[in-house]
Symmetry: C2
Subunit: 244 residues, 2 copies
């Protein structure tokens, strides 16, 4: 007896989304979350390899990832580029566009994905009304800044194996938060993309994977990673390489 319209509505509402504990609605009260249902009324599918947005595109919306996996990257004029992050379900992308009204990076789907479109002007409007939403949005941006500083620390002062260990531990922890196994997962990105993110060449990434496998920390089968010694990985991350 349910009209398709109703079903469609249920499917696109934040209030019934199974990601609401990870995504924008975190911490909002029932009626506040329901107000988001009017904010988020469009979904978009992005096929693997396609861009959700590119550097220079007009900025109008943020995107909450519903299903799938993305990378963001920035590039120089002379062709070099740098992966600035990997984003998974529940994470928000597009914030880079606010400052100039144009996007300042590319967002590329690493698998077939689906995003919720959040018109930015609407978000500003609603967050003027709902203190909790406002604060949560500020937290999301602040978290991104803190995360970026962590990546700078990694790029500026860690050795190759420490970087890869940090990367794996970070992925593991984010999978856990989404209810997936913390020790057994499929990498959605290539060795080259991992290398770009970590400031290493793909061969170095590959060698570090092999080293970790030889040391019994993980097992690697192409993109399938199984972490067998989390504590060991943490130890790799902590060591400075200095002898004191």
């Amino acid at each position: 007896m349910n009209a398709p319209v109703t079903l469609a509505h249920i499917k696109t509402a934040c209030s019934t989304c199974n990601l609401r504990e990870l995504c924008l609605p975190v911490g909002l009260k029932r009626d506040e979350v329901e107000s988001l249902d009017e904010l988020v009324y469009t979904r978009m599918k992005v096929k693997r390899g396609e861009s959700l947005f590119r550097t220079g595109d007009d900025f109008a919306s943020l995107y909450a990832i519903r299903v799938g996996f993305f990378k963001t990257r920035v590039a120089t004029e002379d062709g070099r580029d740098q992966v600035t992050g990997f984003q998974m379900a529940g994470e928000l992308i597009g914030i880079d566009g606010i400052v100039t009204d144009h996007h300042n990076c590319d967002a590329v789907a690493l698998e077939d994905s689906e995003v919720c479109v959040i018109p930015y002007s609407k978000l500003e409007e609603l967050s003027r009304k709902f203190e909790v939403l406002q604060h949560h949005f500020h937290k999301v941006m602040s978290r991104e800044i803190v995360r970026d500083h962590g990546v700078m620390l990694l790029l500026g002062s860690m050795r190759a194996e420490e970087r890869l260990a940090a990367f794996l531990l970070n992925l593991s922890q984010r999978f856990t938060a989404r209810g997936y196994s913390s020790s057994d997962f499929i990498l959605r990105m290539t060795r080259e993309e991992i290398g770009s993110y970590l400031g290493l060449k793909l061969e170095t990434v590959s060698r570090a994977f092999s080293k970790f496998q030889d040391d019994g920390l993980i097992s690697v089968q192409q993109k399938h990673i199984r972490i067998s010694d989390i504590a060991g990985l943490k130890k790799v991350m902590g060591q400075t390489g200095s002898t004191c």
Copy 2:
């Protein structure tokens, strides 16, 4: 005939601050800027070498730099640290604290400085009232994210000399925006701090300075830098080092 009270008020008000074209009030209308005068009612002096805040401190306020120069840095448990930015007059620091209600980096004055204290809850309150202020604050955070991505690109894919050239050009441009010479300035930070920011050792920074001087791009006298060939520096930044 002016009472001292009035003078004091003039001195602490955003509406009469000579940084209002760089700082929080950018783009605000007259009455909106005046509303900021109620937001910013405390100033603080921070002596050279002292911290404005440290990792772990309770977060309550953002700080707008009125006079002086700061660095922010993050550290690992095992003692390594990384400078994440250098901030000058008109720039906002402390945003890193929003996400966890505790600061996530240290902010250290590199010269005797003065900051305006912006109670964060008050800022949220006012930016619910003033759309323009809200949008401007979002832009500040978005700009910080975009800047951080630029630093990741630098750390992940540039050679030592390219990094230093990018750093000098960035400083030059920010000095210009503040009405100082774009080609003649005093570095407030040590070679070691520059190195930490750029992911290099201090000796490498020093050598790159000497190289630029030998090549006639700049002249260096300790912390006094004079850029004699901006275009040349830009060319250094653009070259990949590859032969194709």
